[in-house]
Symmetry: C2
Subunit: 212 residues, 2 copies
């Protein structure tokens, strides 16, 4: 199988990358530079892919520059000067971290890449912990994206989201088994020198790692 992975450089998508490679896939990782304040994740993504490639794995990595469309996806605390809220994804104030239509934009570009590079499917590491706050991580969104992806081109590109109904703690467990270098991944929304340990992304990651 040849898979285009929407790849952030975080714990979830890195675990999915390791899972795909363990299953024998050839993987094209696409990381998107959309003007996010935590651009540091792109460096993490590059480093992890380089290590894997150097170790002989069938992986390539591309950073896709879509900064020019930042104005279309504006209004989120991840792409503007609004402060990133602290707490859990379930908290109401977390809504400011939603980026307009982000996963549809990412998946539509990944599907375009799959068609033009002759890959079979696209993959994304959404999981059950994302459902509370992010509409574009929910089962109904993934189901409908898969439906439209199968008719949008002559090539029927599948949308693969194997973590859709499992928790981040379960992903951490899978990652441990697969040897994912958690220390190389980047999750924090604030993109400072070190993780802030207070934003939703940091809090969820820490809890998942404690539980696994």
């Amino acid at each position: 199988m040849k898979t285009v992975l929407v790849y952030s450089g975080g714990m979830d998508s890195t675990t999915l990358l390791y899972k795909l490679l363990a299953e024998g896939d050839t993987v094209l990782c696409l990381s998107f530079d959309y003007g996010q304040r935590h651009k540091k994740e792109l460096l993490a993504a590059r480093k992890i892919c380089k290590k894997l490639k150097d170790a002989g794995e069938k992986v390539t990595h591309e950073i896709v520059d879509i900064k020019a469309i930042k104005g279309l996806m504006g209004g989120s605390s991840l792409t503007s000067k609004v402060a990133v809220p602290k707490g859990h994804y379930e908290d109401k104030n977390m809504k400011s971290t939603v980026v307009p239509n982000r996963n549809m934009v990412f998946l539509s570009l990944a599907i375009a890449a799959a068609v033009s590079r002759k890959f079979n499917r696209v993959a994304i590491a959404v999981h059950s912990g994302d459902h509370a706050i992010y509409p574009d991580c929910r089962p109904e969104f993934i189901k409908k994206m898969r439906a439209v992806s199968l008719v949008a081109n002559y090539e029927k590109i599948d949308v693969y989201a194997p973590f859709l109904n499992i928790s981040k703690a379960k992903i951490a467990k899978v990652g441990t088994k697969l040897g994912v270098p958690v220390e190389d991944t980047w999750t924090c929304y604030n993109g400072l020198k070190k993780p802030c340990e207070k934003c939703g992304a940091c809090v969820e990651r820490e809890e998942a790692l404690k539980r696994c």
Copy 2:
């Protein structure tokens, strides 16, 4: 109603723009610079919107630069050095003019803009003449895009495609009634000084105008 229109500057989307304005909509026109050889259509789009705005119509126009993702949507004669084929959309050789996942990419960005600018819906001028060669202009694609658009964000953004099942000749008739300045629109795939009159886009346009 506030509508984000996927706007090429061609005859079909210009007629849709006029229709939306006639129905009282506020319209944000998005034209995409995706590295197409017929970039001239962007100038046509700008000129038409400027004239309408100067006449007091509720229209704004933005050219969205997505040239950086040309590599993801490659392989088409519209974005590469492959010659543009001559003839009708029904002809087999016309397949080289298909751009990978183009309308899903355009619509996903238009939906993002609708969410962030607080618009209600997106519109696209696909029509029955497009169905033969372009999968992302067919009713099943539009139906499924609408379905995913309604669940992808907190805001339910509708996908409006009123020309979906009518011919280009019928669009030309609608355009005549609405006073569309056909001479200002640009359709030709070849983007030379004058329309080539031989590519699929020119041939279909000429036939439609003759029939109306």
